[in-house]
């Protein structure tokens, strides 16, 4: 890693520390642990199972929300403060700026994933909690790269946030949509169904199927196979590279 990329990554991490992000993450974890305890208390049966399931599902969504929004807000602030223009006036390749920011944000995502998994170490088997944390870290890596790509492309918070949300929800639901499309209850021969089926299969080639990631079932029933986790990590790295290349491509074409 070049010194310029490492410096940008370091300052991105430092910025996160100074903008109360750690406090927000800690408060979210504490709040959701408390909520899961409440669920445990009022459950008639399988209290521990319900508690673990509730905490894992909600903290996963919260981590994605916090990380994605943090990236969007951070880059938007750089746009507004003209800090980006100052950086670009230096002898710094545009790709180095993106890579530095990406490295910093991915590190933040990994720290958030680790913090989110701490309570799970007490609620589920350690290996399952570790697998869950690794998967969440890779998932947050994709969210970071996606948010970075969106905010650089749209240059505004609202459209970028909407795109990230829509992408994430679609990636989580895509497998179910494909299954429903493959075996419809009725109307399989209609042209509209065939067109939609074609579009969905096309999307499946481009989008990662996030429903297979960071599963609560790993914590409750049986842990994931480490080979499957390696496969997910490989897929995650490839997708981060793809999104980053798209972001760099777009960034090189931007006029400031």
């Amino acid at each position: 890693m070049s010194p310029q990329i490492a410096t940008i990554a370091r300052y991105t991490l430092l910025e996160a520390l100074r903008t109360r992000l750690p406090g927000l993450v800690a408060a979210t974890v504490v709040l959701l642990v408390a909520a899961s305890l409440f669920v445990h208390e009022i459950a008639l049966t399988e209290g521990a199972r319900l508690q673990t399931g509730f905490y894992a599902a909600t903290i996963r969504l919260a981590a994605v929300f916090i990380t994605g929004l943090y990236v969007l807000a951070s880059i938007t602030r750089e746009f507004n403060d003209k800090g980006l223009e100052v950086l670009l006036a230096l002898d710094l390749p545009r790709s180095h700026y993106i890579l530095g920011k990406l490295a910093g944000f991915i590190a933040i995502g990994a720290i958030i994933a680790a913090a989110a998994a701490v309570p799970l170490a007490f609620l589920a088997p350690t290996s399952a909690a570790l697998q869950w944390a690794v998967s969440l870290a890779v998932e947050l890596g994709i969210v970071v790269a996606l948010a970075l790509f969106c905010v650089l492309t749209f240059s505004q918070l609202m459209p970028a946030a909407s795109f990230v949300l829509a992408f994430y929800l679609l990636a989580r639901a895509l497998t179910a949509i494909r299954l429903m499309g493959a075996a419809p209850v009725s109307g399989a021969d209609e042209l509209s169904h065939q067109v939609i089926g074609f579009v969905v299969e096309g999307l499946a080639l481009i989008l990662p199927s996030l429903d297979a990631w960071t599963q609560t079932a790993w914590l409750l029933d049986r842990g994931a196979d480490w080979r499957d986790l390696g496969f997910l990590a490989g897929q995650g790295v490839l997708y981060v590279v793809l999104l980053t290349a798209a972001a760099v491509f777009d960034f090189y074409r931007k006029n400031f």
């Binding site: 669920v39 049966t45 949509i177 299954l179 490839l238 290349a245 090189y252 074409r253 931007k254």
Partner: protein, 239 residues
Amino acid sequence: MAERRISTVPGPVWVTLAAALALQVAWQATRPAPIAHAEALDAPPPEQVLRVASLGEPIALAQWLALYLQAFDNQPGISIPFLELDYPRVVRWLETILGLDPIGQYPLMMASQLYGQVPDEQKQRLMMSFVHREFLRDPDRRWRWLAHCAIMAKHRLKDVPLALRYAEDIARYARGASNWARQMRIFILEDLGERESATILLGGLLASGEVTDEKEIRFLTRRLEQLKNAGKSSPLPKN
């Protein structure tokens, strides 16, 4: 603001983007298509948890849950007959939905008209028992579903005593029920050969003045006379 020319993008960025996109598409294309697995119906979360999760809209949540449960036989890519569902769990779902929206009739309709129609006597009885239990909590609003169960018990299960029990409960507790439902026990008693009881009940009903429709009064009076005559002579032909 016009974008810079595409030639300003360095070659390695082009190559990386194209290679990553090609790899991604190839990776996904070589993966096997997802396979549908029938998922067992999980137990519903506790009602209190759902109340919190509803954010103050328990009725809306109950309606969503009812649709979820109704669609459970049709999971993505696979269709499961109602018969294969875990009925004690279905009952727990229906109870939870009814707990969130006690005024709603949907869970009772599902119990009597959907889940109660499977060709499995034990499962039919489970659903009828659920409807009866819930009827006793709010008879005036839920009598029509128990009336349906009474008919099911009589004609499908051929369990006339059970049908009579349901019909008697409707007459006893659901003061606001339609006359046909409140009169049902009379005809069931008649089927059971309890002509004397049926005669007394029918006479009492006519004397109470609850029936006000003239045609209905004429029909019931004729029926009462038939019962009395049959009691004096030969058995009544069954209708």
